[in-house]
Amino acid sequence: MAHPSQLGFQDAASPVMEELLHFHDHALMIVFLISTLVLYIIVAMVSTKLTNMYILDSQEIEIIWTVLPAIILILIALPSLRILYLMDEINNPHLSVKAIGHQWYWSYEYTDYQEIAFDSYMIPTQDLAPGQFRLLEVDHRMVVPTEAPVRVLVTAEDVLHSWAVPALGVKMDAVPGRLNQTAFIASRPGVFYGQCSEICGANHSFMPIVVEAVPLMYFQDWSTLMLEDA
């Protein structure tokens, strides 16, 4: 999860998020170089003693400051489009989970084989155990196996919500009457936090998402436990 005063991304927990991190580094370096160029030009313009009131045009610099930005944009666009299409690939998911947004909680349904369904409410601050995170913990987490493509079908029961987990690089709007699909692969075991990302009323900030990625063996045990209690 994010730590206080964090500016950068959280550590990636999925291959797509790793790619996004690398693309972000790439774009940021280009942004940094352009910023230094602009700063240098500003300092040079301010400190020069040269003055010329009769410059009308200059073909050379016009060509440079047209071609160079075009090249820079291509250098940014190519990896960006690659990741865009990569994010749309959903190859043979091992598990499908339905995430349904309500005011103000999420519910999850695992209906591939038998039905597992439960609600996921935020744990109120006064009920938190020592070490738990305020406004992020939930009573029942969405458990998924690691190293398995998971498809998430996102919808809403009432108003717009958005299902987002930054560490996994996923965000999908939950629209009433519509089924949106996204997918991720949890590369490592862990607990990954997210929050509702579409304004949905008074408790919009108090309906977090927690995804718990565990090895397949533990996922099987968990699903058996859930089915036994159903």
């Binding site: 580094d25 170089l33 859930m226 209690d229």
Partner: protein
């Protein structure tokens, strides 16, 4: 569908795991949060791969280009301009070079991870690629190119479709031999 109340007494999977593990999950980890230095407030040179090296090379390139230009022309302001241009070009060039190599390493990492997982699963089974299956005389058993023998990344007996690449140069052969050496035994 289970109600919230019905599920209230059920343990989370984390509790389930912690009960079966030796680690005490209630201990707080030491706070390792420390502010990292960001150039111009945006570029985290400590944690971004290749950033530090690129900027150091860029600084060196700026110094070299600017100094050389000044020694040749004795023009101060123009030398500053040339120095900055050297910084820009050197940083960008070393950045792309380092990132491309970094990307190749990441691909290698994924192949090796995939191979290690397959090794755990397939070692000792009929799909073990290190076991030599009976072959007819004259049958192809090795790739002429990249894969010198079936690898853990491709479990099972030799298949001609494993031979994805052929060496195009000695450098490529050295590069791929390094990649195969830890995995294909």
């Amino acid at each position: 569908m289970l109600s919230k109340h019905e599920l209230a007494t059920k343990s989370n999977i984390c509790t389930f795991i912690s009960e079966h593990s030796d680690n005490d999950m209630s201990e707080e980890q030491p706070d390792t949060d420390k502010k990292t230095f960001r150039l111009l407030g945006i570029l985290d040179v400590e944690n971004v791969p290749c950033a530090r090296e690129s900027l150091l090379f860029g600084a060196g390139g700026a110094l070299a280009a600017g100094l050389l230009h000044f020694l040749v022309t004795s023009r101060v302001r123009r030398s500053y301009d040339v120095g900055f241009a050297g910084f820009f070009v050197t940083t960008l060039g070393s950045w792309f070079y380092c990132r491309i190599n970094n990307a190749k390493l990441r691909v290698q990492e994924r192949v090796i991870q995939h191979g290690l997982r397959n090794k755990v699963v397939y070692q000792g089974t009929s799909l073990d690629p290190t076991q030599k299956p009976p072959t007819e005389p004259g049958a192809e058993t090795r790739c002429p190119g990249l894969l010198t023998q079936p690898c853990w990344s491709f479990p099972g007996p030799f298949r001609p479709d494993m031979c994805l690449f052929n060496y195009e140069s000695e450098e490529q052969k050295d590069f791929t031999d390094d990649m195969d050496s830890g995995l294909c035994v």
